[in-house]
């Protein structure tokens, strides 16, 4: 770029650069994000609305939806409690091995989904460490709802904690200390001071956790046993239909999952819109 031109007409160059950058970003987002989503819906409605509705009205689809919601409804609260506890310990106290604890929280993120289901089989499967004991006591974990929950909890474990830690770090603990000095009990302090302060980040974490929980495939596939109508979640139902050449059915269930994903994103955007400043100040990621 000619610097002389740049200096003489800063407004124009700047506007052009800005326009080019926006266009580039939008084209990328369209090609990369919108198109796959569109593909799912186009394939789902390929044969019209009636076959679409028909295929999601089947009892297997309904039970898959029910199971997916059930598993998420158990896994997400578990990880919320864990996330709050871990964030509290990590951000309010100094102790040895803190970095290690942080690394452990992130660990599930780096584990290949192929492995994350397998580990529970190694533990609770008939050939696993606790398999014979569980078998003798008639407890079912693998190939039943508890196994699905465990695998989902493992996959989604980091998200709530990861959301809360940077926020609580940056907020500091002055307000909480003040509450204590003024005589609040531990739980009073938690519910009146801490929770209100972190609620939006917490909700954000819950939404991410939930989105991932409903969509998890690899790990769940290993521990599910694929019993139709009983241990088959929506992503597994997608795969099974796909493997039966029922493409409309597969994409129809996939479109429901995509809708759930969009719903989650919608709620998130709504939150950001209404409480934009509060959230933007401590949005996710962090270090």
């Amino acid at each position: 770029m000619n610097p002389a031109v740049g200096r003489r007409k800063p407004g124009l160059t700047r506007r052009l650069v800005r326009l080019a950058l926006i266009l580039l970003a939008l084209v990328f987002l369209l090609l990369f994000l919108v198109l796959p989503l569109a593909a799912v819906f186009v394939e789902a409605f390929r044969q019209g609305v009636e076959p679409y509705l028909e295929s999601i009205r089947q009892p297997e689809a309904l039970s898959a939806i029910r199971l997916t919601l059930l598993v998420a409804a158990i896994a997400v609260p578990l990880n919320v409690v864990f996330g709050v506890a871990a964030a509290w310990a990590m951000t309010r106290f100094e102790f040895r091995g803190k970095a290690l604890l942080g690394a452990l929280i992130d660990l599930p993120f780096s584990v290949s989904p192929v492995i994350s289901g397998l580990v529970y089989v190694l533990l609770f499967g008939a050939q696993g460490w606790f398999g014979p004991w569980l078998e003798a006591h008639g407890v079912k974990i693998i190939f039943a709802v508890p196994g699905l929950v465990l695998a989902t909890v493992f996959i989604t474990l980091p998200f709530v904690a990861r959301e809360l830690i940077p926020l609580m770090q940056s907020q500091g603990s002055e307000e909480e200390q003040a509450a204590r000095v003024l005589g609040a009990s531990g739980w009073q302090m938690f519910f009146r001071v801490t929770l209100p302060n972190i609620r939006w980040a917490l909700l954000y974490g819950v939404l991410l956790c939930n989105a991932r929980a409903m969509g998890e495939f690899g790990a769940v596939s290993v521990v599910s046993g694929h019993i139709r109508g009983l241990t088959t979640t929506m992503p597994l139902e997608v795969e099974m239909r796909y493997n039966e050449y029922d493409y409309v059915g597969a994409f129809a269930v996939a479109s429901l999952l995509a809708l759930l994903a969009l719903l989650t994103l919608g709620i998130k955007t709504l939150l950001e819109w209404r409480y934009g400043d509060e959230l933007a100040a401590h949005a996710p990621g962090g270090h």
Binding site: F28, P36, F93, L118, G286
Partner: protein, 274 residues
């Protein structure tokens, strides 16, 4: 000290540790224990096999390149979403999380629909001699897809809080815009970009569901490491599968440590350049 004022240390740490122990440590111990089943010799033999090396190269190399691509694109998208106001900005902003929320199985069957030679995009790329689906490039595309949200999402808050006066000061001192960008803004963003990089990397290394349909799965060419694990399982070779899983995990850990060191170094650099 102030730590004493706040309650719940024992409870919160104890609970967090017990939970992690049960959900993460115990299963990982089982994995490591199973992996020892093939012995040191078996491990060396497994890891030195050309097939294993090629698959690890594709998984790890692909994830590195994908994370790098995501840093560039993520910087662009993050910048545009934070700095510019345009119609539909919120919509696009919400869409950034889509790869995160979209189930991998769905992404896995949607991506080939787009990139196969007869796909929506593939039919335009094919005449140009660009083959995406069923090549290592397809693996890369899927990996970029799954890792995409992480760079944007880590970058956005930092970009928003980046003081404009730093840029303005630089410009008033006669720096050109691109100089300001490369000499002032980029160094300040470097630690954040590295965080996004490592998240995108970790996500992509072990990815299976969304990659497997678009990879050609040809041995030595477009076969990813998690697929080798699946093949081991197909022979009822749990120990071999566990060993490969541990190797993949250690490899991605080593990379993450390198990134963390880079990050430490770059944040000092960022401090210095302030």
């Amino acid at each position: 000290m102030r730590q004493r004022v706040l309650p719940g240390f024992g409870l919160s740490l104890g609970y967090a540790l017990a939970y992690l122990g049960l959900i993460v440590l115990l299963p990982m111990a089982a994995l490591a224990w199973k992996a020892t089943g093939i012995g040191l010799g078996g491990m060396l033999h497994l890891l030195s096999a050309p097939r294993t090396l090629a698959a690890l190269r594709l998984s790890v190399g692909g994830a590195l390149v994908a994370a790098l691509v995501n840093v560039v694109i993520g910087l662009l998208v993050g910048w545009v979403l934070v700095r510019y106001r345009f119609p539909g900005r919120r919509l696009f902003d919400a869409l950034v999380d889509l790869p995160f929320a979209l189930p991998t199985a769905v992404a896995g069957i949607a991506l080939p629909t787009l990139y196969a030679p007869n796909g929506w995009l593939g039919r335009w790329l094919e005449p140009l001699g660009i083959k995406v689906a069923y090549t290592p490039l397809g693996v890369l595309v899927a990996m970029v897809f799954v890792g995409f949200p992480f760079v944007v999402r880590t970058l956005q808050p930092v970009l928003a809080s980046l003081e404009r006066d730093v840029e303005e000061a630089a410009q008033s001192l006669g720096a050109r815009r691109w100089q300001t960008f490369f000499r002032v803004i980029l160094p300040m963003l470097a630690p954040t970009l590295l965080t996004g990089f490592s998240l995108a990397l970790a996500r992509a290394v072990g990815e299976y569901g969304s990659v497997i349909f678009i990879a050609g799965n040809i041995p030595m060419h477009s076969e990813i490491a998690p697929l080798l694990i699946v093949q081991k399982l197909e022979q009822f070779d749990y120990a071999g599968a566990a060993a490969l899983g541990v190797a993949l995990l250690l490899l991605s850990f080593a990379l993450l440590i390198v990134v963390a060191l880079l990050q430490r170094w770059s944040s000092r650099w960022a401090e210095a350049s302030r």
